[in-house]
């Protein structure tokens, strides 16, 4: 597998969010700032990576009929681990991400990759797949978070970009702004993907 190609693919063409429209709930809910976006993205990446590895390890052991419940248990385990460790180390971030940490369990990307990829591929490939898919996910969360933070709070990664006294477009940190920004980002990412595809 060509790693560079795989990376470009999972960042653009097959990006979980902008390409496949998966995992929208955390994408929209936790991207009020770029930092939150990265936090959520990395948490998801960890779960994706670990569950991909474990599922790949167990792929010959798990009977076909219970594979979905079994995968869910594996995923839920890692999610809970992430949940507890974040609470122990990154308390503030955990508080803002809140409910959406346990909800990583039902993020379709994870189960989808476990099913579609890890259950059929070697551990190393599954690891890479989990890593890149996760980073692709993190990437789009970061972009969305940046857009919303800059427009809605006038700051980026917590650094104030415009004077305090200026108005910011509050709606972008609220629910409607999340949908609107993602709508426009989808278009931008589509354009980028097409550029890369032509570049090949």
């Amino acid at each position: 597998m060509n790693i560079k190609e795989k990376a470009i693919k999972s960042f653009f063409m097959e990006n979980p969010v902008t390409g496949l429209l998966l995992g929208l709930c955390p994408t929209l809910a936790t991207t009020t700032s770029a930092e939150n976006g990265i936090g959520m993205g990395l948490a998801t990446t960890f779960v994706l990576l670990s569950s991909n590895v474990v599922v790949s390890l167990l792929r010959n052991v798990i009977p076909n009929r219970v594979r979905i419940p079994a995968y869910i248990v594996v995923i839920a385990t890692f999610v809970t681990i992430v949940d507890m460790s974040m609470q122990a180390t990154l308390y503030q971030l955990h508080k803002t991400l809140g409910l959406f940490i346990p909800l990583i369990v039902v993020n379709c990307i994870i189960l989808g990759r476990a099913e579609a990829f890890a259950s059929k591929n070697t551990v190393w490939h599954s690891f890479l797949d989990g890593l890149f898919m996760g980073l692709g996910f993190t990437f789009s969360l970061f972009i969305l978070g940046s857009v919303r933070e800059i427009l809605g709070s006038g700051a980026w990664l917590g650094i104030r970009l415009i004077p305090e006294s200026w108005n910011t477009i509050l709606v972008f940190v609220l629910a409607p702004g999340a949908f609107l920004s993602l709508g426009f980002i989808l278009i931008g990412m589509e354009r980028l993907s097409r550029l890369f595809e032509r570049g090949k």
């Binding site: 798990i62 076909n64 009929r65 219970v66 248990v73 594996v74 809970t80 681990i81 507890m84 609470q87």
Partner: protein, 194 residues
């Protein structure tokens, strides 16, 4: 499903996975339980440090105490200096009837009954309007005020407090909250004297 796996195998694999998963989690929980508990307290304590920051060195307990008055209840931390004297209180009250309902407010009060600082713990006020109560411009007017030297109402209602622009209701709730804290202080102060 090309091959029919036996029911026993299917069930036992799942049960085994579940067993190991839960065991693993229990282990992780054992490790993280302590830090999590510490973190949860840390947040409130951080707030205490902020509202009482002008008092210099002081000590205060890990957990707040409860105080019930007739109309409402409050929680408070008592700050003592090295010699064990009470130098101030950090009182957590519910500010009543905000725009998005009640919100939790921590008020730091020195031993003379003057407001030191305020800290909003959690709220559902409108972004851009009500949540401006966290800003310094609004907060600073409360410093140094006590139950006696102030008419505790917004100017529109005949009091001394400048309301936030277009957020009268939030300002009212905030003002009432601070007043509550001062009332609690009076009670605590009385009790301490006895």
């Amino acid at each position: 499903m090309s091959k029919q796996e036996s029911g026993f195998k299917v069930i036992s694999v799942l049960v085994l996975i579940a067993f190991f998963a839960a065991a693993l989690l229990a282990y992780v929980n054992k490790i993280t339980r302590e830090p999590i508990a510490r973190n949860m307290k840390e947040e409130t304590k951080q707030a205490v440090r902020i509202v009482l920051q002008n008092l210099g060195q002081f000590d205060y307990p890990d957990d707040p105490l409860d105080k019930s008055l007739t109309e409402f209840t409050a929680r408070y931390f008592t700050a003592k200096n090295a010699s064990g004297q009470i130098v101030g209180y950090a009182i957590i009250v519910k500010a009543p009837n905000g725009f998005g309902g009640d919100f939790d407010l921590m008020v730091g009060i020195d031993s003379t009954g003057k407001v030191l600082d305020t800290y909003v713990l959690n709220h559902k006020e409108t972004p851009g309007l009500g949540d401006n109560m966290k800003k310094e411009d609004f907060k600073k007017q409360f410093r140094g005020r006590s139950l006696a030297n102030t008419r505790w109402a917004v100017k529109k209602d005949g009091g001394d407090i400048d309301a936030l622009t277009a957020a009268t209701i939030t300002s009212r709730a905030f003002t009432a909250g601070v007043k509550r804290a001062l009332t609690v202080f009076n009670v605590l102060n009385e009790e301490a004297k006895q």
